[in-house]
């Protein structure tokens, strides 16, 4: 048997500063020979420490068991006692061209979590199949998990060929079956190799017993697997790990998952959509560092302005930022004893972000080990499925097809990882699902309140372009109603965005959610007898229609129809100027279309009338539509 021994000419620097390092996981059904293959590979490549083989032979003899190559890897007493691999292990050896980290994963279904732990670290995989037993449930399951874990390079070995008399026919049967299965998952095996790990055939060399086979040996196949490369070509994704203030610097720390960044770059922080510039890239001992920092680097940056950001945010470049969403469709594997069911409360981790979440739908649930797939309402342990998740907070993410690093998530139950999977798609920010809500009613009756305030509750909704005069009118109306003994409460869109709606950006989904929350709060006030005055651009007719549905008969919509040119001239908050300069994306007024209302209770153009005049007109409308009582108007007239 030829030995491929490391020689001085391979590399002067051990464990490669120049030699590529590739991590390869060995997977497959229990007892199909994973650990044996690994042991054989170590032996064939001359990688065993001195004395190790002799020690293991002595151990075997002492136990009265035949020598097993797997004893090399099964380091735990219980593993050797039971003859099975319980947990994954890693061991290194070298081939002609590279350093290999071999990850030996357990094949027993009981230890699937350990197989996943091992396989998730691999650049490539070797799927091993017993020639006698053929494709089994763990073979299929492991194949499916390689797909879910994103391991794309897979070599298949058909082991124990000695048990089928090195039959080319049997080999082809298995080869065809597993190739069809893997290709169905989108994983094309790089090669299928007949071997006998115990005897060495096909591991490092071709032997006469497999003379009919002309493809690569296992060692040659391993040499062809490539290390995974950092995602340098994709858009920048820097998930924020922490913000450090150890000295006068405020350093945003994280690892670049894809793309690159450098000082001076304009960046956008998702999911909030805030814009800033990178002032410096900090390091130690020398700082700051110049030049671009690429994918895979752990970095620290400072920004040109003080703004609120937190662990879990993702930094990207404007125009290429990740999505923000509260709703995700994911394809997951499930490892927890208790099946995952619809309605379950879980914790999601996406990069460095964590969010509580609810499983709102289970679309598919299958046993990837079984041949026929059953649809189920729950995803059982070691099964996979597709689920819809509603998140308690907005998160930044990408579908995994666009970014495999930021498009994957894990699910935690009781502080322990219970599953994981791929983000298939992200959806509009739909509301979280309420659970076990028991509303408590007020102790006061509405007529008690209206007797004191001399009005009924209402939601007075002022809509119009930025600068149209909504806030000014709202404040004037508030003062007037209060002066008359009423109970007006101002709900200004921008003010609420600073707190209650601080998690929302300006995507159509977030705008809709912003309006929904405004409408809910305003309606609550109205139902308790107050007049809620909402001043919000609320450009979408559909969103306002939703607000009207929420507030129902208490809703009074007032369109502040000041012409756009006038609004832009006023520009009280400087937004038009910024938007024209390109610094404000998604600004209603010059970018997004404002949809004027139809069926509104009142229209007011503030360009040609005084605030007092306009306020009075609103009051008259409120009186006319049954919100303000006549006697109150009389009272006001007499003051």
């Amino acid at each position: 048997m030829n030995m491929i021994l490391p020689t001085a000419s391979i590399s002067a620097t051990p464990n490669g500063t120049t030699r590529p390092q590739v991590r390869i996981v060995i997977v497959g059904h229990v007892d199909h020979g994973k650990s044996t293959l690994v042991g054989r590979l170590l032996h064939e490549t001359g990688s065993l420490p001195d004395g190790k083989l002799e020690m293991l032979k002595a151990v075997s003899a002492r136990r009265g068991m035949p020598f097993e190559w797997s004893f090399l890897l099964d380091a735990l007493q219980t593993e050797r006692d039971q003859g099975i691999t319980i947990d994954t292990t890693q061991i290194r050896f070298r081939t002609r061209s590279r350093d290999v980290v071999l990850i030996d994963a357990p094949g027993h279904a009981e230890f699937l979590r350990n197989m996943i732990t091992g396989a998730s670290q691999a650049d490539g995989a070797v799927l091993i199949i017993d020639a006698l037993e053929g494709v089994r449930d763990q073979t299929r399951r492991h194949g499916y998990l390689l797909h879910l874990l994103g391991v794309k390079q897979v070599a298949v070995v058909v082991n124990k060929m000695d048990r089928v008399d090195f039959s080319a026919v049997r080999f082809k049967e298995i080869s065809d079956e597993i190739s069809a299965h893997l290709i169905g998952l989108g994983v094309t095996p790089s090669t299928v190799i007949p071997i006998s790990a115990r005897d060495g055939d096909g591991v490092a060399e071709h032997t006469p017993r497999i003379a009919w086979y002309t493809g690569p040996s296992v060692v040659e196949a391993l040499d062809a697997l490539e290390p995974a490369r950092p995602l340098a070509q994709l858009p920048l994704r820097l998930p924020v790990q922490a913000i450090y203030k150890f000295d006068d610097r405020r350093i945003v720390a994280g690892r670049i998952e894809s793309g690159s960044l450098k000082a001076g770059d304009e960046i956008v922080i998702m999911p909030t959509g805030k814009i800033a510039k990178i002032k410096t890239v900090e390091s130690w001992p020398a700082t700051p560092v110049n030049g671009p920092q690429g994918a895979g680097r752990s970095v620290g940056i400072t920004l040109d302005r003080e703004l609120f950001l937190e662990r879990g945010d993702i930094i990207g470049h404007p125009g290429q930022s990740p999505r923000d969403t509260r709703r995700i469709r994911a394809r997951i594997f499930w490892l927890h004893d208790k099946p995952l069911t619809k309605g379950e409360q879980i914790l999601i981790r996406l990069g460095t972000k964590e969010s509580r979440a609810t499983v709102v739908a289970i679309e598919k649930a299958i046993d990837p080990g079984a041949l026929s797939n059953e649809e189920n309402a729950a995803i059982a342990r070691n099964h996979v499925g597709e689920i819809d998740i509603s998140l308690a907070q907005p998160v930044a993410t990408d579908p995994y097809t666009e970014n495999p690093r930021t498009g994957r998530l894990v699910i935690e139950v009781n502080g322990r990882i219970a599953g994981g999977g791929l983000v298939l798609s992200v959806d509009a920010g739909r509301p979280a699902v309420p659970v076990d809500i028991v509303p408590v009613e007020s102790a006061l009756r509405l007529d008690e309140r209206s007797a004191r305030y001399h009005h009924n509750g209402a939601v007075v909704w002022l809509t119009g372009l930025p600068g149209s005069g909504k806030s000014t009118l709202a404040r004037a109306l508030e003062r007037r109603l209060f002066g008359n003994g009423g109970s007006p409460i101002l709900l200004d869109g921008d003010t609420l965005r600073a707190g209650l709606n601080g998690d929302l950006g300006f995507s159509p989904e977030d705008r809709a959610e912003n309006i929904r929350r405004l409408a809910e709060v305003a309606t609550h006030l109205a139902r308790n007898g107050h007049i809620a005055i909402v001043a919000a651009v609320s450009p979408s007719a559909a969103d306002r229609a939703a607000a009207r549905r929420i507030a129902d008969s208490a809703f009074r919509e007032i369109y502040i129809a000041t012409p756009a040119e006038v609004c832009e001239t006023r520009d009280p908050k400087g937004h038009y100027a910024k938007a024209r300069a390109g610094a404000l994306q998604g600004f209603t007024g010059i970018g997004n279309d404002y949809q004027p209302p139809t069926g509104n209770e009142l229209t007011i153009d503030t360009s040609n009338r005084s605030v007092a005049d306009a306020t009075e007109e609103i009051e008259r409308m409120l009186a006319r539509t049954g919100i303000l009582f006549d006697e109150l108007s009389d009272l006001a007239a007499n003051i």
């Binding site: 490391p6 620097t13 500063t17 420490p49 380091a75 890693q90 790990q241 130690w284 001992p285 752990s298």
Partner: protein, 264 residues
């Protein structure tokens, strides 16, 4: 990025995750080459400052060169150094073989330090290539209430998502250099110019590859007088790194028993 850059970036990521997710961390500083690299990585991760204590669980039997190193660099690196003594040998499991029993004092010292300080995370510089049971470790490795390691029920860990919620009263071990090799440690020590204890270099034809208690640690034959020569030597050797650590070799499962009980 070269190989060392990748190792460094991953370790920094792990250290920052530990700091973000645990309440009270300490870094176990054994004064050896691995934990010195780990301190260096922590300084990189946190921009020059190690924001948690460096804990030396002291058996009292280290080499004088190690104590000199601790006293000098504890100050130079501005570490929040905590030295905790180990209890006498009488308090240690008498069924362990002699060297392992001696080493197990460190486990007991560690338990006392945990109780005293209430740490919920201990950062330890073990590596997978050192020893077979360490190869089965997680990056974030939960420990039981008595500090024990349940190797039969390790949680899943993938995609750099770590289980960081130890039960009340238990702690986590965090292993930021689990994926490094002995040669990586030396290549990085050289590149970054990290100080080393001279015991690692040849003296009278021998040097220490791994440093522990002076009475149960032995040098190996070597002529390596600098890091380059150490790297060349490692490239050709088939002698395991911990060959000179008596506690590993007394019985088949001595080291596993130590680790299950909470040893590093």
């Amino acid at each position: 990025m070269d190989h060392l850059d990748e190792l460094e970036a991953q370790s920094i990521y792990i250290l920052r995750e530990a700091f973000a997710r645990l309440k009270k961390l300490a870094l176990l500083w054994s004064l050896g080459k691995d934990s010195n690299v780990m301190i260096w990585l922590a300084r990189k991760a946190f921009f020059g400052r190690v924001p948690f204590p460096a804990l030396h669980v002291d058996t009292g039997k280290k080499f004088p060169e190690m104590y000199a190193f601790r006293d000098r660099f504890g100050k130079e690196w501005d570490l929040d150094l905590r030295v905790e003594p180990c209890p006498p040998i009488d308090s240690v499991d008498p069924t362990l073989p002699p060297a392992a029993r001696s080493a197990a004092r460190k486990t007991e010292g560690l338990k006392l330090a945990l109780v005293k300080h209430g740490f919920d995370g201990l950062i330890a510089g073990i590596r997978r290539d050192e020893e077979a049971t360490r190869a089965k470790e997680r990056v974030f490795s939960p420990r039981g209430l008595e500090g024990e390691w349940d190797v039969r029920d390790q949680p899943p860990e993938f995609w750099d998502h770590f289980n960081a919620s130890p039960p009340q009263g238990a702690h986590l071990r965090i292993h930021p250099i689990l994926h490094w090799t002995e040669a990586d440690i030396w290549a990085y020590t050289k590149r970054e110019n990290i100080p080393i204890i001279p015991l690692y270099l040849t003296k009278d034809g021998k040097r220490y590859r791994s440093l522990g208690d002076s009475d149960i640690t032995f040098p190996v034959a070597s002529t390596a007088s600098n890091i380059d020569e150490i790297l060349t030597e490692l490239d050709g050797t088939k002698v395991p790194e911990r060959a000179g650590r008596a506690l590993d070799h007394e019985t088949e499962d001595a080291f596993e028993r130590l680790r299950v009980a909470g040893y590093l």
